[in-house]
Symmetry: C2
Subunit: 358 residues, 2 copies
Amino acid sequence: MPTTPLKNDLFLRALRRQPVERTPVWLMRQAGRYLAEYRATRARAGNFLALCKTPELACEVTLQPLDRYDLDAAILFSDILTVPDAMGLGLHFVDNEGPAFHRPLREPADIARLPVPDPETELRYVMDAVRTIRAALAGRVPLIGFAGSPWTLATYMIEGRGSRDFVHAKRLRYDAPELLEQLIGTLTQATALYLAAQARAGADALMVFDTWGGVLDPDGFRRFSLAPMTALVARLAELAPGVPVILFSKGCAAHLPALAESGCAALGVDWTVSMAQARAAVAGRVALQGNLDPAALFAAPAAIRAQAARILAEYGRGSGHVFNLGHGIIQGTPPDHVAALVEAVRELSPAYQHGAPG
Amino acid sequence: MPTTPLKNDLFLRALRRQPVERTPVWLMRQAGRYLAEYRATRARAGNFLALCKTPELACEVTLQPLDRYDLDAAILFSDILTVPDAMGLGLHFVDNEGPAFHRPLREPADIARLPVPDPETELRYVMDAVRTIRAALAGRVPLIGFAGSPWTLATYMIEGRGSRDFVHAKRLRYDAPELLEQLIGTLTQATALYLAAQARAGADALMVFDTWGGVLDPDGFRRFSLAPMTALVARLAELAPGVPVILFSKGCAAHLPALAESGCAALGVDWTVSMAQARAAVAGRVALQGNLDPAALFAAPAAIRAQAARILAEYGRGSGHVFNLGHGIIQGTPPDHVAALVEAVRELSPAYQHGAPG
């Protein structure tokens, strides 16, 4: 991949805890249904999966929020379930319900025979999207690649769809932990190759979404969420050296100290913990990304600005903070409220950064 | 209320951290759809709300799990939304969706005109259920009364139904916190009267379900969940002196030290924290109730027994532990697995209790 020099590398500097002039900001699910232009492109694509699988359209929606807002990073438009889909489970989306698999894992033999997909063949459309976006960005801001965490992918593959109670995945966790470890081992291997390929295709940073880490008991979290993510980070250090990795375990504020030992560059932080507590918990070992309640974007711009000010103050002085939400933008969020947030972070954050009067 | 002497007061002694011979056990939602006899009674009632509103049938389903299992407490069969219903919001249940209100709160004026219901008139059917159950129990085990926490009730009243993102309630939290405090103040007053009336009708202990405390940011939790529950506990100390109160904030393990300062007798503990950590966090100020993952009941009896053994060992020696799940029994739980759990707690817990070889 030929490297275009980045015009704005604030995000990468913050991930490395290097000096920055202001706190970089991007928002999880910044390309999405709250934007009219996204809904128009999705309508042209026909459905969500077609949008993910058509590199030109995935590129189009990836860039849409950057044209509206002064964001400091782009994130590949895709879905965490592309990997299980490439393993043969048959991903599809059910209206008003979300993702589902035609062939969920039901028998131990289903786990044993899972293939590890080759990213440049079975997931070629994702790599093409990364290359297309990277070229279209032309160095404007860094591009983030991503994948689901092994545990999070396992829950969907076992349940066959989204779940509230995760009874099938948990039954495996309690009844046959070795079998669950086998599945998660395969997923860790597949995810490492997938993320490394995204880095080769042009992703400047890699993020792992551990959406369901928080539904596990503490032992289960260590064994089935944290341990495989730690192995994944170690493998990526070999396969994609120098590319920063962000881990985001939603609902896992209590596990921040353990997550900070994983070798990752940064941790995502949801809104259930203050940035001051989170920063103390990781003790300077990693950068932090977060932590505004996405529902706060439904409040008036003045209240949004006050919350941004609070989070910046709670993180305090110095680099290592990437402003973000504590979870993805909620459908129905007023787009001008997102503008108010981005503007507030740009205006208020220099006071906490390099060059600010001490 | 004439007092029948209790034949089994293990549960009340554990709440007071007095010596017990074994760890008492009951299970949240122990009367429910996983039991065929419950489904039969509910079918006779016609629907869930009719079941709640018919004291004889509510009594029948309350006693069903006690006839199957050696449980150490009964809990009133009812719903947390009876109080908003009595305030005039029009509770009903939508198939496959859950509770909803015909008249959710939409305007500040809706909040200002909310009445505080008189429990013995507007909620008479609940008090009659408590009296009926208490008489039917005839001192077999203690009876637990309950209510939703002010914040949890507020979310349903504002959203109009269950929610994933709580955007209406959170908008009020960020845009008009004083208005939210006014609503929560009214709910605290109503809930105190409601729980005190349950105690007068015969409830031996009172539990507050703060199901949605965990969706708040830390400041929001302190202001809108913890502070009103603390006020509620203080009011109950006047209105129902000597009746132990259990607070259960789901997803709030990080707030256990603060919750332990509320004046309550015991705290519910979900499964995201070990009982050893939870016990250390509350430092002997309160008893603890929990903390098995309800999904673990889908595992084989041997695995359930191993999890029960782990939790008992993690709590360790001494009183102050009420064994329970970390959330309600999940629909579809095999009833014989519940039997295996109760049996395991009865067999394994004496080793940690009074009289056990030190």
